[in-house]
């Protein structure tokens, strides 16, 4: 029983981490129809910015608990600077082009940002592990878990709840839903689609950076760290259905649980398990679990 509980807890923690990253990817696709390969770089930028800010904060001898504020500040800064820069400076010139062209454009952005990271931060690793251990640990089912992991779950729940409420209960959310449904009709009805795109891309960037900033204390922040993440995040949104928030949540949960069960019971198939699930889902529902089938437009 204790073992099963450990599988569930590990699965939930991993799912939460994945959801924070994947929800930004699905948001950008849902609204803008862009498969954003640069999402992994935004995640890495969040991690680097967090490492720099937390490092400066702690080396200045300030209160260690303030490092959590630095993690959040890093995500906000990356979102507010990089998101508008790329959306206004590059992507807006590409709207209306084929989705494949936009994939290639974001891939180019990904490559540019990977090199930009190396130029700014070098190739050496950064460590900011203090926030990871600062909150202490708790014992569940005979295993020790850092409270930081529980905080990660809380953050992902807050992100999910905020999205659900914003989309259903706020005017801006309803406008966003309208743009997701039909961009042209929304524009004809007077919605400022350009502004919606800008806000969406900034929010998506901020979410990726949040994932990176919250991951920074648990890893060595190194060049290339965004590559692995983007592959997993794509698996999640493909399982859930591209552009679906509920799909991103369910996809994260499925991937997290399957991976956790594989690690505990059959470690040899851990790598294979996530992609096996993705293949099975795509065979049964080619558009993912939560994406409605579209009528063919003639």
């Amino acid at each position: 029983m204790g073992h099963v509980l450990a599988v569930v807890i590990d699965g939930i923690i991993y799912s939460s981490w994945l959801f924070i990253i994947a929800v930004g990817l699905t948001l950008i696709y849902g609204v803008m129809k862009i498969l954003n390969l640069a999402h992994g770089s935004f995640y890495a930028l969040g991690a680097y910015a967090a490492a720099s800010l937390v490092g400066r904060w702690l080396s200045a001898g300030r209160a260690p608990f303030g490092s959590y504020a630095m993690l959040i500040l890093a995500a906000i800064l990356v979102g507010l600077v990089v998101g508008p820069l790329i959306e206004r400076g590059l992507l807006r010139f590409m709207y209306g082009k084929d989705e494949i062209v936009l994939v290639l454009v974001t891939y180019a952005v990904f490559l540019i940002l990977e090199d930009a990271i190396k130029l700014v931060w070098g190739v050496d690793a950064y460590f900011v592990s203090e926030p990871y251990g600062l909150l202490g640990s708790l014992s569940i089912a005979g295993l020790t878990y850092p409270v930081y992991s529980a905080a990660l779950v809380v953050v992902s729940l807050l992100v999910g709840a905020a999205f659900a409420l914003a989309l259903k209960r706020t005017r801006q959310g309803k406008l966003l839903t309208a743009v997701i449904q039909d961009r042209e009709i929304s524009a004809a009805m007077g919605i400022d689609v350009r502004r919606v795109y800008l806000v969406t891309f900034t929010l998506g960037t901020m979410l990726a950076a949040t994932g990176g900033a919250l991951t920074a204390p648990t890893v060595s922040v190194v060049p290339g760290m965004g590559v692995e993440v983007i592959v997993l995040a794509f698996a999640v949104v493909v399982i859930g259905g591209l552009g679906s928030f509920a799909g991103a949540a369910l996809g994260s949960l499925i991937v997290g649980m399957v991976r956790s069960a594989a690690v505990h019971y059959l470690p040899a198939v851990e790598l294979f398990s996530v992609y096996a699930v993705m293949a099975v889902v795509l065979i049964a529902r080619p558009k993912g679990l939560f994406r409605a089938l579209e009528a063919r437009k003639i």
Binding site: A6, V123, F127, S129, T218, V219, E228, H264, E270
Partner: protein, 426 residues
């Protein structure tokens, strides 16, 4: 996705080459030896592995060209021939590395390739080296399969393979914990990780047949998140946890596992842990068993070459030399020995003949090309246990294992040797 040589490295190459040229007397026409160096210059492995190796190459080649190395290497160049370097980034996977290798040999016309940290890259490149008939020295990768599953004429490896690390680790922990009952492992899911774990588990079971394996975790290289794996390790309550993790994975594992009590509940042995000592410092918990893939870094012997390397490396780069720099030194000094034994202006075939079965001095002691018909090195190995002293991580309870004890004999595969003979070596 070919990676061009960055400006900084390009300038470094020119500087080294021109410095080398400046050493030649006017009118002398000694053909330079162009060496292609392949090491991680980007990605997670760059900081702890690739860059120290590149720095080691840069430092050694400058000293060789200047003739400023301590004896027995106080002569200039390779038998008077100056050296020039062409650096290639090892990041990008095996397919890219095969392309880069062909480019180095066929377009850049290097005389010798020294490279490869990743065992996957070594396994991919070795057959291509044979096809192109180009002298290639593998300087750091560890998979025993390179020479145990194939035979090469043009390929050498001047560091010992992973059997040494795994068998040395097994000997150390069985001596440290005579009552050892349960082991577990977390290793990367590719050639190096799988071979390391298989050899360690086999060696432990040869030494102590009743030992049980609670779990063998094989996460993907660079996966970064080990929450579930750490739970699986903790659940089995093993006496010893073995890991051959390296690069950012090693550091992430230590950062995630230490707060969860893995290091407190079990003795953790990190066979490539020496590269993280300076970077993580006291974040590596006391009592962790650390390897350096041979007598390198903190375990290097007190000889003249090592004193030179330690000082020159620290003075130049501001950090201590770790084992990738030592492995690079082994490759370059092995080549210098071979080129000079072959004689001035000797062709590649004579250099290969001179390197086969040779012995040469290095900052890590004597290296002997004793396996795979003289193409695979053996060396002693060393393990110790971490202890933090005044905020600095140090090693205590250091044990050295002679090369013959931790390496299989010529003509015998590692697994066969472990199963058949290891008990007798104890």
């Amino acid at each position: 996705m070919a990676r061009p040589i960055p400006l900084f490295e390009g300038l470094a190459i020119l500087a080294i080459a021109s410095a080398a040229g400046a050493q030649q007397p006017a009118g002398a026409e000694v053909k330079p030896v162009k060496i292609g160096i392949v090491t991680f210059l980007s990605g997670a492995a760059a900081g702890p592995f690739g860059v120290p190796a590149r720095n080691g190459a840069e430092l050694l080649v400058e000293a060789i060209n200047a003739g400023s190395l301590p004896p027995p290497y106080a002569t200039k160049g390779f038998g008077g021939a100056p050296l020039s370097l062409a650096f290639i980034d090892e990041a990008g996977g095996t397919t890219k590395q095969v392309s880069e290798y062909r480019d180095l040999v066929q377009r850049q016309n290097v005389d010798v390739v020294v490279g490869y940290i990743s065992s996957g890259d070594c396994l991919a490149v070795a057959p291509v080296a044979e096809e192109l008939k180009k002298l290639t020295v593998l300087f750091d990768c560890g998979s025993p399969r390179i020479f145990e599953d194939a035979s090469y004429q043009y390929v050498f490896r001047t560091d010992a393979h992973a059997a040494m690390d795994s068998v040395g680790a097994a000997l150390y922990v069985t001596e440290l914990k005579p009552g050892l009952k349960k082991i577990a492992g977390i290793n990367q899911n590719y050639a190096w990780g799988q071979d390391s774990w298989n050899d360690f588990e086999s060696a432990i079971k040869a030494l102590k047949p009743a030992v049980e394996t609670t779990t063998s975790q094989m996460p993907k290289l660079l996966s970064g998140q080990y929450g579930a794996e750490i739970s699986a390790l903790l659940s089995g309550d093993p006496d010893v946890v073995h890991s051959s993790f390296w690069d950012g994975d090693l550091e992430a594992f230590v950062l995630q596992a230490a707060p969860r009590g893995v290091f407190a509940k079990s003795t953790v042995i990190l066979t490539a842990g020496e590269t993280a000592m300076a970077r993580l410092g006291a974040q590596i918990p006391d009592g962790t068993v650390i390897g350096a893939r041979g007598p390198h870094g903190v375990y290097a012997p007190d000889n003249q070459l090592n004193r030179w390397l330690r000082k020159a490396f620290f003075d130049r780069y501001g950090v201590a030399a770790t084992y990738p720099a030592y492995h690079m030194a082994q490759a370059l000094l092995g080549l210098k020995t071979a080129y000079e034994k072959a004689g001035s202006g000797a062709g590649q075939e004579k250099v290969i003949a001179a390197l086969e079965g040779s012995s040469f001095e290095t900052p890590s002691g004597t290296i002997r090309m004793a396996l795979a018909k003289g193409h695979q090195a053996i060396e002693e190995t060393v393990y110790g246990t971490t202890k933090t002293v005044k905020g600095q991580v140090t090693v205590v309870n250091v044990k050295r294992y002679p090369a013959e004890v931790v390496n299989p004999p010529e003509g015998m595969k590692t697994q066969d040797w472990i199963k058949a003979s290891l008990k007798r070596t104890k």
